[in-house]
Structures are given as structure tokens and as C-alpha cells.
């Protein structure tokens, strides 16, 4: 903890936007940071074998509840975001409790959560009169788009610092879990639930704790995304595609490493941007096409992810 390198890097990251002010790269960095935080949130439970394919649902709830509360009820995101987090946590409890209580694990759990994100998307579309459905939803700009009360900022630098802070908090939470008794309990559960229960671990309670934490963090990511982009739609913040994207990115980066999700975010977002720029408006969908192929190849040939493989190679040498 007294190693200087992480602190120097941290300082460099904070100083970055003051030195290098080009808006587009800053925008990409903000997007990367927000998604890194979202992916880290997923990995907080994903690393323990609780493979949720439904985190798109939590992100969607986070984004839409915040935006709806602001537009419909004038509730500031400072209150709206906690509400969204609570809503997301409640949803997580509702789905996870019966799953864990009745030992729904593995494939079953993944499929149930997959359906969850699909249903959240359906709900958003079905309530199109309030949410705009597939056309998307825009939070109203307040004071010209620059207001602390409305949590809207025009300056990319401000958003960069906010995103950086939240990302750092996400990593801190990851480490807190990593160093806690919860981690050991969950690893024991992941290996053998019955044996863990026999040694006094409250299996359902421990699993619920991590699930609620993960869902809450993901909801925050969704809310931040909403406030930054000032536009949300069911496909960009919820649904199966988003859920899959999360799992992919973490696996690509490295599931058991703290910075794995971040590396995954960097790789996947940069890749998507490069593809988007190369194919441009000429062909819709080509970028996702290449993305999909590359991801399948990755899963087959680099199952431990980039960071995971790199660390394993270093340990072996």
C-alpha cells in the first residue's frame, strides 16, 4: 500500500483532463470509466460463480428511475439516484431470494437473470406513454445543462473527475469485498454449498448481500450514464445485449482480477469505437458483427481474459 506507482498513476489520471483537454478523447474516457464501474459492479458477484445475465435490468432501472423522477416529479438526482439504487436493490432481492433459497444455481440462475433483463426491457417498452419506449427518453435540461442540483454538467472535465471518482470507489468496494469474510464465505459457497452450510455459513444471506451490492452499484452506473449522456433508451442501458456485454467485457479483461473489468471496458469500448469509425454510417451493424465474432474467438482461445492470462504467464515464468 505504500508502493508509489499506484499513487503516481492515480495522480496522473486526476491531472489528465487539465493537461490534455481535447473533448472527444475525454468523452471516450468518461464512457470507459462509467462502463468500467458498471463492469466492476458485475464482477463483484460474478467472480463468485453467481453469473448474472440480468444486470442490464439493474442498469436500466437505475437510469430510468432517475430520469423519470426528475422529469415527472422534479426530484433532484441527488435523491433520485438513491431511490433508483433502492429500487434496483429491491428488484434484485425479489429475484435473487427465491433463486438462492431454493438452490437455483448455475445455468438455471443465468437463464432466470437473462429473462429478467429481457422483461425490464419489455416493461420499459410497454410503458411507452411514460418512458418513450424504444424511442428513448431525455432528462430535461436545467439551467442550460450546468447545475449541481440537477447533476448536469456541460464540462467534460467535471464529468471525467466524477466518473474517475466513482470508478475509484468501485475499485475500493471490490477490494473491501476481497478482504472481507464475505469473500471467504462466498468462495466456500461457490465450491460446495452444502459443505459451506454445514460449517455455519448462512448461504442465502451471504449470496443476497453480494447480489444487492452488485445490483446497487450497477444501478448507480446506469444513473450516471443517464446524467452524462442526457439520453437513454432501452437498448443502450437495459436488455439482454447490455447484460451480455457486461459479462463479456469482464471475461475478456479477467474475472478474478480487480482491474480486469476495467481492462475489459478499455478493450471493448475502444474496439467498438474503432469499428464504428471505420464502418461509419455506411453499414449499420457491421461493428457489432465483428465485435460478436471477436468475442466468441476470445472465449475459445483466451478464456482467462487478457489480464488473467497475462498474470498467469507472469506467475509461470
Amino acid at each position: 500500500m505504500t508502493r508509489p506507482l499506484p499513487w503516481l498513476l492515480g495522480l496522473a489520471l486526476v491531472a489528465l483532463p487539465f493537461v490534455y483537454t481535447a473533448p472527444y478523447p475525454l468523452h471516450i474516457l468518461v464512457v470507459i470509466l462509467i462502463w468500467s464501474f458498471a463492469y466492476t459492479s458485475w464482477s463483484v458477484m460474478g467472480r463468485f460463480g453467481l453469473t448474472s445475465f440480468g444486470h442490464g435490468g439493474f442498469m436500466g432501472v437505475g437510469a430510468y428511475v432517475t430520469a423519470l423522477m426528475w422529469n415527472k416529479a422534479g426530484v433532484s438526482p441527488w435523491l433520485g439516484i438513491p431511490l433508483a439504487i433502492v429500487a434496483s436493490a429491491a428488484l434484485a432481492l425479489l429475484i435473487a431470494y427465491p433463486c438462492f433459497r431454493f438452490r437455483i444455481t448455475g445455468h438455471y440462475f443465468s437463464l432466470v437473470t437473462l429473462a429478467l433483463s429481457g422483461i425490464v426491457l419489455q416493461v420499459i417498452t410497454a410503458t411507452r406513454d411514460h418512458t418513450g419506449g424504444s424511442l428513448g427518453y431525455t432528462p430535461e435540461r436545467y439551467q442550460g445543462g450546468s447545475s449541481v442540483w440537477a447533476l448536469q454538467f456541460g464540462s467534460k472535465t467535471t464529468w471525467y473527475l466524477i466518473a474517475l471518482g466513482v470508478w475509484a470507489v468501485g475499485l475500493w468496494l471490490w477490494y473491501r469485498v476481497d478482504r472481507s469474510m464475505l469473500r471467504y464465505a462466498l468462495e466456500a459457497i461457490a465450491e460446495d454449498e452444502d459443505a459451506a452450510a454445514a460449517t455455519g455459513v448462512h448461504v442465502t444471506a451471504e449470496k443476497l448481500k453480494i447480489t444487492v451490492l452488485s445490483a446497487a452499484m450497477t444501478a448507480l452506473a446506469g444513473a450516471l450514464y443517464c446524467q452524462y449522456q442526457m439520453f437513454i433508451s432501452p437498448d443502450t442501458v437495459s436488455g439482454i445485449a447490455i447484460s451480455l456485454q457486461m459479462v463479456f467485457a469482464v471475461v475478456v479483461g479477467g474475472l478474478y482480477v480487480s482491474l480486469g473489468p476495467t481492462v475489459g471496458a478499455v478493450i471493448t469500448i475502444l474496439l467498438a469505437e474503432i469499428l464504428r469509425i471505420s464502418f461509419g454510417t455506411r453499414a449499420v451493424g457491421y461493428d457489432n458483427l465483428v465485435y460478436g465474432i471477436l468475442l466468441v474467438i476470445f472465449i475459445i482461445f483466451l478464456p482467462r481474459g487478457v489480464l488473467g492470462t497475462a498474470l498467469a504467464l507472469r506467475r509461470a515464468s
Binding site: 431454493f102 448455475g106 432466470v112 429478467l116 419489455q122 436488455g239 466468441v296 472465449i299
Partner: protein, 288 residues
């Protein structure tokens, strides 16, 4: 009086929908029971089958039965390709990786469809008559889909119970390791099962395209429901999936009666959650 008729009509439509959903869950259960993998992209295979029907019948004016046969064969081949290219290399890998790989294929297929066919909704353009009986309107295409789905399931049942390969498929789901002692080449059985799963998806595509438009993301409407059906009926359990399919179909039909179709799906999911609390025995998970 009139209200009762609508209810009855919805109930009947539910049964008709149930037939097709049961066919879908059969395919998914087959793959899971035999190969122990979930094809998350199963609905996307169906989507491609629907596009195949559209092009063969509407654009190239092939006779309907020829188009259907080609569609079934084509998606069967897709199933085999999926197994050989994506599943087989990952048979020993962690289940999360297997799920992810088929998830990647889901991404890929949706994008491929977007690139090749565009995002507009396409319709088969086949206007089948609507039957009027006792004040209810039952669409002929629904009846046809139900009948064909049932026939398909009976054929699969006969195949599984009366042929050597069918017996091997049932056996491999019960004890994978000793199959070689029976003289069975497990890899061949996986390929045959993948073809069968793909073929069933192709058949489902033929039936669904009669009633619904096709677009690259149409798989998202019935994919999640199929997964829920299989989970509720117990993954790999054919009879369970069959029953669960009809239960879900009725809920969707009834939900659609009182509100938009999307609420039918939401209601089905809510029902699923309730079932998980109420009847966990129906969901006793096999440790995977």
C-alpha cells in the same frame, strides 16, 4: 355474454400458442439434456429461419412446402455448424464460457441479420383465412401452427423412443461416461442432436413466420420466455417443458386480452417469480 366469448377465445389462442412454445422448449431441452449446454442464441436461429422462409417464399416464390423443407434443413445445418465451431471447442470449459460463447453468437446473428436484411419488419405476406366459430375468431395460421407443432413433437417422440439413435440420445442424457461402452460415438450423437435441435428451430420458424413479422431482434420476444419455460419445467425435462409451455402460453394470452401483448410477457415473468416462491419442487435445480 360477449365478454365470456373473448375469454374463451383467448384461452383457445393460448392453447394454440402453447403448442409452438412447447416445440421451442423441446429443442432447447434436447440440447441441454444431451450436450449439457444452453444455446442462448436459440431464438436467433429461429429468427434466421424466419428470414429464410421470407426470402424463399415471398421473394423467390418457392412453394410453401418446399420453402419449409429448405428452412428446416438449413437451420439444422446451422445447428450443426454452431456445435462444431463454437460448442465443441468449449465442451470442457467452464459453463460460463459456454454460455458466453452462445451469447456471442446471439450478438453475431442479430448483427448479421441487421447487416444483411436491414431493420425493417418483414412479413410473409401470406393471408390465411380466419375461422369464425361460435362468435370467436380463430386464425387459421394459428391452428395450422398448433397442428404442425404437435405432429412435429410426436415425430420427435417416436424418433427418441423407437430408434437406436433416439435411444442413444436419451441414454447420453442419463449417463454420459459409459456411452462408449455401448459402442456409441458421443461426438456423433452431439452432432445429430444439434441437427435435431436446429431442425426443430427451423420448424418453429416456419410456424412463427405465419403469424408474426420478422426483424433482426424478433428473437428477443420469445427467447426469454422459452428459457423461463425450460427452467420452470426443469432443464432437460421434456414433459415438464411441455406442460410449462402451455401454462405460460395461457398467461400470455390472458395478459394480452386485458392489455398490450408486452404486458402478457411481464405477467408471465411475474407468474414465474411467484412459482419460484410457491412451488420450488417444479424448479428443483440440477446442479450444473
Amino acid at each position: 355474454m360477449g365478454f365470456d366469448i373473448y375469454l374463451l377465445e383467448a384461452l383457445i389462442n393460448g392453447v394454440l400458442l402453447g403448442g409452438v412454445l412447447a416445440l421451442l422448449s423441446l429443442g432447447l431441452n434436447l440440447i441441454f439434456g444431451v450436450i449439457d449446454v444452453v444455446w442462448i442464441c436459440y431464438a436467433e436461429l429461429i429468427m434466421l429461419g424466419m428470414y429464410a422462409m421470407y426470402f424463399l417464399y415471398t421473394v423467390y416464390h418457392a412453394p410453401l412446402l418446399v420453402a419449409a423443407a429448405a428452412c428446416i434443413a438449413g437451420v439444422a445445418v446451422l445447428g450443426v455448424l454452431l456445435h462444431l465451431l463454437v460448442i465443441a471447442p468449449l465442451l470442457g470449459a467452464a459453463p460460463i464460457n459456454q454460455l458466453l460463447a452462445t451469447g456471442g453468437v446471439l450478438f453475431f446473428l442479430q448483427s448479421a441479420a441487421t447487416v444483411m436484411f436491414g431493420i425493417e419488419f418483414k412479413n410473409l405476406g401470406l393471408r390465411l383465412p380466419v375461422l369464425k366459430a361460435a362468435g370467436m375468431f380463430i386464425s387459421y395460421s394459428r391452428l395450422l401452427a398448433f397442428a404442425v407443432a404437435l405432429i412435429g413433437m410426436v415425430l420427435v417422440y417416436l424418433f427418441l423412443s423407437r430408434t437406436y439413435t433416439g435411444a442413444a440420445i436419451r441414454a447420453i442424457a442419463q449417463d454420459r461416461q459409459i456411452m462408449p461402452l455401448m459402442g456409441v460415438d458421443s461426438q456423433r450423437i452431439y452432432v445429430i442432436t444439434s441437427a435435431l435441435g436446429g431442425g426443430l428451430a427451423g420448424l418453429a420458424a416456419c410456424l412463427l413466420v405465419l403469424q408474426y413479422d420478422v426483424h433482426p431482434f424478433v428473437g428477443l420476444t420469445f427467447g426469454p420466455i422459452t428459457f423461463l419455460i425450460c427452467v420452470l419445467g426443469s432443464l432437460g425435462n421434456f414433459a415438464g417443458g411441455f406442460v410449462a409451455a402451455f401454462v405460460f402460453a395461457e398467461i400470455i394470452a390472458l395478459g394480452g386480452l386485458y392489455s398490450d401483448l408486452e404486458w402478457g410477457y411481464v405477467l408471465a415473468f411475474a407468474f414465474f417469480i411467484v412459482m419460484m416462491f410457491v412451488r420450488p419442487q417444479g424448479l428443483m435445480a440440477r446442479r450444473s
